[in-house]
């Protein structure tokens, strides 16, 4: 799980252009939205694309993201259970 969390942090930094952050700067238990990284709605859509492109997970309802994107750790746990690639 720790390896997946690190991989996910690197992917989030890349796809969301968080150029001034390193994986160490991201607390895997901190909220991704509003507080924490302060991501916005466009970032949420980009995370949905990331899930499908890199892990083969297609979210049918964007609202599902609310629960899945609560933190990097919760996101990693969801990926570990549902990934198809």
């Amino acid at each position: 799980m720790e390896a997946l969390i690190l991989e996910l942090k690197k992917e989030i930094i890349e796809v969301l252009n968080l150029e001034e952050l390193t994986p160490e700067d991201i607390n895997e238990d901190a909220p991704l939205f509003v507080e924490g990284l302060g991501l916005d709605s466009i970032d949420a859509l980009e995370l949905i694309v990331l899930m499908e492109k890199n892990y083969g997970i297609k979210l049918n309802n964007a609202a599902e993201g609310r629960d899945i994107f609560k933190s990097v750790r919760i996101m990693a746990e969801y990926i570990a259970k549902n990934r198809t690639k």
Binding site: V15, L16, N17, L18, E19, E20, I42, D43, L45, E46, V49, E52, K53
Partner: protein, 203 residues
């Protein structure tokens, strides 16, 4: 009442000039626009999410307004933005196209898509400085001081507008070509806003 050029910024791949002062930037190979951002010691993480056109316009506006807008948080209802370029948002449009080109690797990028309009650069500048006046973006085949002058004077026909950020903001094929001017209605005589002076500052 005179209409003056209160400030200007010229930004290209080879030149960064603000009000007659050349600014030297240590450039890396990755991106000179990112280098300028770091040189200015800005703290605005959204910058890195912008497309190149918006980055270029945003940086030029930061330099243009550096000693003029001290309070970015106060709404500015008397300020308008009038921009123009040749290639619209084609630079970013091509980037977006790469995300939808291959039907076997079809992942349209939402964060790239939101910049597939040239006037988004107006929005970035307006949001940063809380500029609430009219905002417009025109496409012109070539840099045209006459068209810029005409568009700005039309904007000043609104009596509520006292200052206009205007100019040419173009970015395509890694070529940055920006001239931003701050035009103000003022009592004193400074650099007059006219076609010849726009052309002179561009060349």
């Amino acid at each position: 009442m005179n209409i003056n050029i209160a400030s200007y910024c010229r930004l290209t791949n080879h030149k960064l000039e603000v009000n007659d002062i050349d600014i030297q930037i240590q450039k890396t190979e990755a991106s000179s626009l990112n280098d300028i951002y770091r040189h200015l010691n800005l703290s605005y993480p959204k910058f890195f999410k912008m497309d190149n056109l918006s980055k270029a316009g945003f940086l030029a506006s930061e330099l243009l307004l550096k000693n003029i807008i001290i309070d970015k948080e106060t709404p500015k209802k008397d300020m308008a933005i009038v921009l123009m370029n040749r290639s619209a948002s084609l630079d970013n449009d091509r980037t977006y196209q790469t995300t939808i080109q291959d039907e076997n690797n079809f992942f349209p990028s939402p964060s790239v898509f939101v910049y597939t309009l040239s006037n988004i650069v107006n929005g970035e500048i307006a949001i940063r400085n809380k500029i609430m006046g009219e905002s417009s973006f025109y496409i012109s085949e070539n840099f045209s001081p006459e068209k810029i002058y005409s568009a700005v004077m039309n904007t000043f026909s609104d009596p509520n507008i006292n200052q206009v950020i205007c100019g040419w903001v173009d970015y395509e094929f890694n070529e940055c070509d920006v001239l931003l001017l701050l035009i103000r209605k003022e009592n004193q005589e400074k650099i007059p806003f006219n076609v010849n002076n726009i052309y002179h500052l561009y060349t």
